[in-house]
Amino acid sequence: MTRVFVFTNHKGGVGKSTSATNTALGIAGMLRRAGASNSRVLLIDTDSQAHATLVTTGTKDYGTDDSLYTVLMADRQNAAQTLLNCIVPSTWDADLHILPASPMLEGAERELMGIAGAPYRLADPLSRILNRYAAIVIDTRPSFSLMTEMGLIAATDAIVPVEPRYLETVGLMSVIGKINDIREGWRQPNLRVSGILVTKMNTRIRGHNHLLDELKGHSVLGKLLLGVVPANEAVSYAHQNHQSIFNYDPKASASKAYAQFVGKLVQRIAKGGA
């Protein structure tokens, strides 16, 4: 079964889009390198800010007829075909495909509110094209909105990027609680919290080291820790140039950390298990 990784945290600025985009590219590249027969990866941007769309396609001029908004508004019968029609190639890599976001998504939440089956409007068509991709990565918006719920319902693996700060770590617990609510309440047994990715780690800050140590020492969270990405200005410059961190500076510490993290995800894809 194709793994669907959703990057979610209701706290903004923790590196969801950066992690989602670089992870999607990393998986495609690593699978190709491993000689996989299918190394295509689909990145779905559900954030109306469309930052992931902008950096991976070079534009965010997507609207009512060529974006995720179009898919969500399509007839149920035509939704899968609409989804296929809206997917665009990334400028980063031939095997990376993007389902772009649009500012219209803000309105979509209001339009869909109260419509029966609205939370499944992404999961349903996505399930019909799932096997065409080796993996799917979903970037969510920094809130627990309908759009984020749609992303979680469509996913198999939730990855929580978190900054090593006290309040962010507190927020982590509520994110995990929310994901569990969706798994139980929406009857999504395939969804699970698969990992925590610590971002913007600065070893010179004592508080960061302390929280990371606590996380590692935690009986449950410690096992979920999949990677630690150091704070690195190469990430900002990569965004500015609409490039991945791997392309912008392959030797940067953040690049290496993301590569390690992607490797662990690819290992899971290969094993097909937890």
Binding site: G26, G35, N38, D93, N247, V266, A270
Partner: protein, 399 residues
């Protein structure tokens, strides 16, 4: 697309990690086996150059040139059949009415001769109902022809099941599936016209014209012609008429095997059916006329092909009758028509006029009596002859 050196940089960076993290077991990704998957119906398309055609010619071209969606093509087909059925006095509104009503008593329906279009739709509806009730047991065989973000699969076998599924989805109530269709996916590099030919000829029901198209595809392929990815006219297949297997002896056995193990002479006869006019090909294909009845038609001028085909269909002519029709009357020359079409008896009478001076009245009277054995009838024959001679004389004078 990113520059190639950028991709290389990613590969270099990630390459080291892969070997380390995949625990030296990257083979688990190298899955090149043929697999069965459920594909979205919209991602699957029939092969435009498939020799076996399901839709009538006109719809075939409209569909493959993207002027019609699958639903629109089926709608056109249903309308076409409705007209044909109404002309035969059995109109219908719903496609399900094409199937016999199990509540009706008697076998009246079984004796009804359906037109090819009616038969086609009838078969599709039948198949659709089977799929609805029992599911799609037999997967389609498709070739992965996806490029970039455009994901598409070309049908190698199972076009009827494809159309039946569309029919079920959009024209028949009770379809509860999710719009997916089970398919055996063949990697593009494993696909070939030889493989397709074997698949086709292994199944029954390939018409003589479809076999002719099939032979053309094989011959064109071994001569290095590129098979286009779009619908082609019969002229494309007719290029094979100028080609043979003399210079390609190494392929002869492969081609004959792919055609179902036929003899070389039979292969030539099948290929020569491409000489038929477009209209005749369409008629022969639609009515599934056999090669042994068509082989004589190609010997006459192309302008007569369609008319002869209509006679074959309307009067269900045997091969012998077709042969007589094509050879007895020289349809290739218009100028000699008036002479060639004369009744043989007239020709004999004309010959008799050349030897009339050698006969006596007594000889003729004896011969007439020998033939008719009745003087009254013999006199009646002579009177009829006299009348004919007088009219002939008048005709010649007016000429």
């Amino acid at each position: 697309m990113p520059p190639k050196n950028q991709t290389q940089r990613i590969d270099e960076l990630l390459g080291g990690v892969t070997e380390e993290l995949l625990l030296g077991n990257p083979q688990q990704f190298e899955d090149n086996s043929i697999r069965v998957e459920r594909l979205l119906l919209e991602m699957v398309r029939p092969d435009p150059v498939q020799p076996r055609r399901v839709l009538p010619e006109q719809l075939h071209f409209a569909f493959h040139s993207n002027r019609l969606t699958p639903t629109q093509a089926l709608k056109e087909l249903v309308q076409l059949v409705q007209v044909a059925a109404r002309q035969r006095g059995r109109p219908f509104n719903n496609v399900l009415e094409l199937l016999p009503n199990p509540d009706d008593e008697g076998d009246e329906d079984q004796s009804v001769h359906l037109s090819p279009e009616e038969q086609l739709l009838h078969d599709l509806v039948n198949l659709a109902i089977t799929i609805r009730d029992d599911g799609q047991v037999n997967p389609l065989t498709v070739v992965d022809v996806s490029q970039g973000v455009t994901q598409q699969f070309r049908i190698e076998t199972g076009e009827r099941r494809y159309w039946a599924t569309w029919l079920l989805r959009d024209f028949i109530a009770g379809y509860n599936s999710d719009g997916m269709i089970p398919c055996i996916i063949i990697p593009a590099e494993r696909s070939s016209v030889f493989r397709q030919a074997k698949e086709n000829t292994a199944r029954s029901g390939l018409s003589a014209i479809a076999m002719a198209r099939q032979s053309a595809l094989l011959v064109l392929t071994v001569h290095g012609y590129e098979i286009p990815p779009h619908a082609v006219s019969n002229d494309f297949y007719r290029q094979a008429l100028d080609l043979d297997l003399r210079g390609k002896r190494e392929y002869t056995d492969t081609i004959l095997t792919a055609m179902g193990g036929i003899e070389k002479a039979q292969f030539s006869r099948i290929k020569s059916l491409l000489k038929l006019s477009d209209e005749a090909m369409e008629l022969a294909d639609r009515h599934n006329i056999e090669e042994f009845r068509l082989r004589y038609v190609v010997t006459v001028s192309a302008e007569y092909h369609a008319e002869i085909l209509r006679q074959i269909i309307d009067f269900n002519l045997t091969a012998k009758q077709v042969k007589e029709l094509c050879e007895g009357n020289d349809l290739q020359t218009d100028e000699e028509d008036s002479i060639e079409k004369l009744p043989p008896a007239a020709m004999k009478m004309a010959k008799v006029t050349q030897v009339v001076s050698t006969l006596t009245a007594q000889d003729l009277a004896k011969a007439l009596m020998l033939q008719e054995a009745d003087p009254a009838i013999a006199r009646a024959r002579l009177q009829a002859l006299r009348k004919l001679i007088m009219e002939t004389e008048q005709f010649l004078m007016s000429e």
